[in-house]
């Protein structure tokens, strides 16, 4: 069935109100059953392209859209959203936003009924999709109780109920742990068997590279086909650089700043302990990785170390200041400009006279202090928070999943920044592809409530992935 055009984009230009052109003459053709991957820097226009194809750029964002987009031969411009939803389905970055009914099963069935307008047809479609996706057990659960990976799987089920000719995934791996990534790769195989046409916009592209039919780079508003180059470069780097590493334990450079002794914690008084007998020592200069799959209690542990949650048993001794950088980095910022942000923080830390140091750090990161922190990219927001921590001489810096949403290159740059920091740093992550040996002083795995030291990581490949990214996207070396 390959060969029939599902998507045809010609000379597409898109810009947001009062903004510059983000997309500058995109040409793209996607055939039925093809799986296409689009990579590019943060802010390169990947999400804008997805919005243009789904018609959202004009209707929600009031963008200026020039050029032509055809879905199964029909012009997207002017297509009613009811009709459009039968041609294209979007699986966005945050899957939890796509459910209206609290129960997953009710939401999927409600959508099936809306699409098919008949109870029997809706039931058939619902059962077929639920079985194909293997989510029968999720249908009786509330959407806000399931993991990010499960929510995405349920959303894919919703997306294929309508038989849409094109499925668009915007950063599908963003919140997934390593197991979730494997699940997504399996999901792609299943969609291939169902002959679904798929477009994926993703930063963390290495696990998908060998699974897709075409790879494009979006840069300077233009799309370039790099399929063969991506595969040959990947093979070349696989031979040149090792995959995984053995770890030699190092120690921090200074005083003991934080100590957790035999910490136990549970949320439900009658439930099982989420954390059991956690022991952890942090010295100045330590850069500690805590790896664990979603739901293992990494965020909870960070909140206990931060002093926000109290352990049920055991104790945490803090001998210095602590800063917590949440996974959703936008929750860290409170002011209209970065300059105000710096002044307010330094005032709170009784270091008002040293605010200039903070502003110098901001400029050193090539960020305009007069811009809004909310206008920064995810990567810039994380780097700014780390920069502020370093200017404030924070003793202990806790980061929850700081790598999600970053390009491989930005991950490496962030790791280097953390490594140079004078604080004791703890990073919680659910993906090993963000790790690389030289930057960590201690590695732990959080599993079944226990913190276990790791000696080797088989999947670490950040330097290789970062080099591949640089070769494909053509960014400057870090």
């Amino acid at each position: 069935m390959m060969g029939r055009l599902v998507l045809e984009v010609s000379d597409l230009w898109v810009r947001y109100p009062r903004g510059d052109w983000v997309l500058r003459g995109i040409d793209l053709q996607v055939n039925r059953g093809e799986q296409v991957l689009v990579i590019g820097d943060t802010g390169s226009g990947k999400t804008t392209l997805a919005r243009a194809i789904t018609g959202l750029a004009k209707t929600i964002y009031e963008c200026d859209v020039k050029g032509r987009i055809l879905l199964s031969g029909m012009e997207v411009d002017g297509m009613h959203c009811e009709v459009l939803s039968r041609h294209v389905a979007l699986v966005g970055q945050n899957p939890y936003l796509y459910f209206i009914e609290p129960l997953v099963g009710d939401d999927l069935y409600g959508y099936a009924l809306k699409v098919h307008c008949d109870g029997r047809l809706a039931s058939d479609a619902f059962n077929k999709v639920v079985d194909a996706m293997g989510i029968r057990r999720l249908t009786e659960r509330f959407f806000f109780e399931i993991s990010g990976g499960e929510a995405r799987r349920a959303l894919v089920a919703k997306a294929i109920i309508s038989n849409a000719s094109l499925l668009i995934f915007d950063e599908p791996l963003m919140w997934l742990d390593d197991r979730g990534v494997e699940d997504f790769v399996d999901l792609l195989e299943m969609l291939r068997r169902l002959e679904r046409t798929v477009m994926i916009f993703e930063h963390r592209f290495v696990p998908l590279l060998k699974r897709v039919d075409k790879v494009y780079v979006l840069k300077d508003g233009k799309l370039a086909d790099v399929t063969s180059r991506a595969l040959t470069t990947f093979e070349k780097l696989s031979h040149q650089l090792p995959h995984g590493f053995y770890f030699e334990k190092k120690t921090g450079k200074g005083d003991l700043l934080l100590e957790a002794k035999d910490v136990y914690f549970k949320y439900d008084a009658k439930g099982d302990y989420l954390l059991k007998g956690i022991d952890l020592q942090l010295c100045r200069g330590d850069v500690v990785l805590i790896y664990g799959l979603n739901g293992q209690g990494k965020t909870t542990l960070l909140k206990i170390l931060a002093g926000y949650l109290k352990p049920h048993k055991g104790k945490v001794l803090r001998r210095g200041s602590v800063l917590y950088i949440p996974q959703n980095i936008a929750l860290f910022y409170t002011e209209s400009t970065i300059e105000k942000e710096v002044v307010e923080v330094f005032k709170a830390w009784r270091m008002k006279t040293k605010a200039k140091v903070g502003l110098d750090v901001v400029r050193g990161l090539n960020i305009d202090p007069l811009s809004s922190p909310f206008s920064l990219s995810h990567g810039q927001m994380v780097k700014l928070a780390v920069g502020l921590a370093s200017a404030l001489d924070v003793d202990v810096l806790l980061l929850d999943e700081p790598f999600s949403g970053l390009t491989y290159d930005d991950r490496l740059k962030l790791l280097e920044l953390l490594y140079q920091s004078n604080s004791a740093v703890v990073v919680a992550t659910s993906s090993l592809d963000a790790t690389e040996a030289p930057y960590w002083t201690k590695l732990y795995k959080l599993e079944e409530g226990r913190l276990v030291e790791m000696r080797a990581i088989e999947k670490a490949s950040l330097i290789r992935a970062s080099r591949l990214y640089r070769e494909l996207v053509g960014v400057e070396s870090a």
């Binding site: 919005r51 789904t54 018609g55 959202l56 209707t59 929600i60 959203c81 009811e82 939803s85 294209v88 389905a89 979007l90 966005g92 945050n94 939890y96 936003l97 796509y98 459910f99 209206i100 009914e101 609290p102 009710d106 939401d107 069935y109 409600g110 959508y111 009924l113 809306k114 307008c117 109870g119 809706a122 509330f142 959407f143 806000f144 109780e145 919703k158 009658k270 909140k303 931060a306 002093g307 926000y308 200041s321 602590v322 800063l323 917590y324 950088i325 949440p326 996974q327 959703n328 936008a330 929750l331 860290f332 910022y333 409170t334 002011e335 307010e344 923080v345 709170a348 830390w349 909310f374």
Partner: protein, 233 residues
């Protein structure tokens, strides 16, 4: 406490709506039309017993005990406020008012939670749509569906902002949360454009055999609350 339980589906929608709204009406009656505090407390205690009985049909015992703990917590907070005001020479609340105050809070809390425990979001949407509020019903469902994730973000922001400002400016938490709400609204609009609202396949029932039990126990409660005024309290 605000999630719907299917355990009460043996009763008709009408019976469940009537029970939930009658409880709210009785609470208002007890609060504003009682001749003195002792009468009000007796009425509230009767309503609370009925609320706990209904909750016990829907939830596990542990949750109910948690609900009861609330009375204790608010009584303690009230007592602390009283003693602090007394010590500082401020206008202290009447200590006799502390227990009824806690009772009022808990009965109203449980009463309003029953609106969501007894009636599902889909039923609410269907009822509101039939009353001609289709758009509002959808907006209501979309807003309610985001409450759990918003609560999670609240905890995240609280940790980050507390440490960032060394516990000095807790009100600043409002800024990222407000911004996040705006972004979430826009993303919800995106999802609405792509998928639209799910079709409503809700049968609103007016009568079921078991309704008689619900109506009779409700009648007993109404009679009890109404007759308390006549008691020599």
């Amino acid at each position: 406490m605000f999630t719907y339980s299917k355990r009460l589906e043996d009763y008709s929608t009408l019976a469940r709506v009537l029970v939930a709204s009658t409880i709210i009406a009785l609470l208002m009656f007890a609060r504003f039309l009682s001749r003195d505090v002792s009468v009000e407390v007796t009425k509230l205690a009767s309503i609370l017993s009925f609320e706990l009985y209904l909750t016990s049909r829907v939830r596990e015992r542990q949750r109910i005990l948690t609900g009861l703990k609330l009375i204790l917590v608010f009584t303690i907070i009230g007592a602390l406020v009283f003693y602090l005001s007394y010590l500082l020479g401020w206008l202290a609340p009447n200590p006799v008012e502390i227990v009824p105050g806690a009772l009022r809070l808990v009965t109203f809390f449980l009463g309003f939670s029953l609106l969501f425990q007894l009636i599902s979001l889909r039923e609410w949407r269907s009822i509101l749509s039939r009353l001609g509020f289709k758009g509002q019903a959808l907006a209501f469902s979309m807003a309610i569906s985001q409450i759990p994730t918003t609560l999670y973000y609240l905890s995240e922001a609280a940790t980050a902002i507390k440490l960032k400002y060394r516990g000095k400016r807790p009100y600043k938490i409002a800024v990222p949360l407000a911004l996040l709400s705006l972004l979430t609204s826009r993303s919800l609009a995106e999802s609405y454009m792509i998928y639209g609202p799910p079709a409503m396949d809700v049968r609103l029932t007016t009568h079921k055999t078991k309704d008689i039990y619900l109506y009779s126990s409700l009648a007993v409660l109404v009679a009890a609350v109404a007759s308390i005024d006549a008691l020599p309290l």
